[in-house]
Subunit: 345 residues, 2 copies
């Protein structure tokens, strides 16, 4: 039953995303439109469900909407999740705008097994394609006006843009850390807060808002999303070093080769032992990566990150319990959270 | 008197822009904030009024607000232009976001005599700085909620984002034209419509809206701004080839060296004479530029563009007369339009 609900939501999300992106489907800008449909996974080589990604953010948004008891505010509002689909699309568009620009910034040639936009069309065109995705994200969230009072539209658009500013701040920190050798763990949380957690908090916060939750409940949903993002990212950091290649699809310890400032690494840098010395000497080649991972584990980087991941998971699930999502969507959101937090164990 | 009004407006615009950009002035993102304050012309080498640009767009926005007779809608609304200053700032921020990304896309090393953001901080950081300017533009326009009903805020944000999509479309056309040799004049208008006119139309349209103009008057203001933009761009194209170096500050005919698809050039390409043959053979070096400009003039490129510029100027002033801007701000907006349309004659 819950599978059917999620399936319906995912289908409506895809329809809405295509409708929004079709704003560029005009006589003179068809190839421009195609850049966006390619990046979104709908057209070009390798198009299909592998290429689109899981649309987890818009799904969490709609599940949040539908899981709120609309009677919270003392009114008997029948919440129709379909009314919020343009906000769900907006969040997915923001996510994709940031991916297109990230790929240029990180010089990444592949995403989800396909060439990135800048590789196909050059950086100038890809910068512009990312800009267009962000503009369309804003247009999408403003489309809420068809079904919601203007005050709620302004609030949702405000939350979305506040979070986008956090995204740019997280991105700034991430890029500026590349040149720094004096990083510690306190540099970690604001960075992943901006890069990962902020957008997940937008899903649950805007979702609860559009489900007509009261202020207290909106805040609990927001905290759930934010903490879920932190827990997820820490887990991702662990998998990026000690993950099972056959499960993660990335070569093991690839985060060490790429020099990523993950939580285990920052923990070891703060301890300033042998791993820190090696790290500061420059890039770790593939041949040395196994030994480096063992060194990092021996210095406590793995167990510290696992402890943090477990704590954050408990915290996230605690907020979720307090938020008390209702019905079929509530079950689905609990299931999804558990899946995200327990993957690959 | 009118000078004092414009001076007050320009001062309030600058205060508001600084206030908006200060969203990034936080402990961990101070150098990121500095990228924006540098680009905006407030800090770093060469900071000052030469570096900020003229803030013509936000000024036109506030003059539009204040020049509307607030009684249009049958209500006696005393229009306070200061209430609209965050929308004026939003438009200037959009303009600057597009400049930061344009400079990367065009590989431009200098703007207003200063190094561009990507030259100072690298393209990845500059992409992110442009993104942040656009986010802050959206936050600024949503700040209208302090003084305007939510319905008007949603409408203003909607207009702004619709125009931003046109900006990305104009930019796409401009970049894609670089590879094409089959261009004609019908390719010109949609490109400059998106790149130049759209944002000017946002100034006058949003301005009139926030001045509580009726729908008919909002539309006249919009058409005035749009046509003003077209006329201005055609004139800019003429000056870019036949302008007086000592007045324009650019080397004469530099648009020919840069291979810009300006209106005189597209006219000649459509005529397919000697100039067109030469143009299609590749870049025109500085030494050949005088002869190329004469050839283009002889084939009618200059007189055609002058005719179009005169026609568009009449059309723009016609819309302005119909819009009938009132009082001191009305005088100022007429003066500004005449200045923009008659410069360097």
């Amino acid at each position: 039953m819950s599978i059917n609900l999620q399936q319906s939501m995912l289908e409506e999300i895809e329809v809405e995303l295509k409708r929004q992106v079709a704003r560029l489907d005009q006589a003179r800008t068809k190839p421009f439109h195609e850049m966006l449909t390619y990046h979104m996974g709908w057209t070009g080589e390798g198009a299909g469900s592998q290429a689109t990604g899981k649309r987890i953010r818009p799904l969490i948004t709609l599940l949040s909407v539908y899981s709120v008891d609309g009677k919270d505010k003392g009114k008997s509002i029948e919440v129709n999740w379909l009314h919020a689909v343009s906000a769900a699309a907006a969040i997915e568009l923001v996510h994709n705008f940031s991916l297109v620009h990230d790929d240029i910034q990180d010089n990444s040639e592949y995403r989800r097994g396909r060439k990135t936009a800048w590789v196909k069309w050059g950086a100038p065109m890809a910068i512009n394609a990312g800009d267009a995705l962000f503009v369309i994200a804003n247009q999408s969230v403003l489309d809420l006006k068809t079904h919601y009072p203007a005050e709620m539209v302004v609030r949702a658009a405000g939350i979305l843009n506040d979070i986008c500013l956090q995204l740019t701040q997280g991105q700034y920190m991430d890029m500026s850390y590349e040149e720094r050798t004096d990083l510690s763990m306190e540099d970690y949380w604001p960075m992943i807060g901006g890069k990962t957690s902020a957008l997940l908090s937008a899903c649950t916060q805007i979702g609860a808002l559009l489900g007509y939750a009261n202020e207290e409940k909106v805040e609990l949903y927001r905290q759930f999303g934010y903490t879920l993002g932190l827990a997820f990212q820490v887990q991702d950091d662990i998998l990026g070093i000690w993950g099972d290649e056959s499960v993660t699809g990335k070569s093991a310890a690839s985060d060490l080769v790429e020099g990523k400032n993950s939580l285990p690494v920052l923990y070891a840098l703060e301890k300033n032992g042998d791993f820190a010395k090696r790290w500061r000497q420059g890039p770790i080649p593939q041949a040395e990566v196994g030994a480096a991972a063992v060194m990092l584990e021996n210095e406590g980087g793995k167990s510290y990150a696992e402890k943090m991941s477990a704590e954050l998971t408990q915290k996230a699930l605690g907020y979720l319990n307090q938020a008390d999502p209702q019905g079929e969507a509530g079950e689905a959101i609990r299931g999804l959270a558990n899946m995200l937090l327990k993957r690959k164990q």
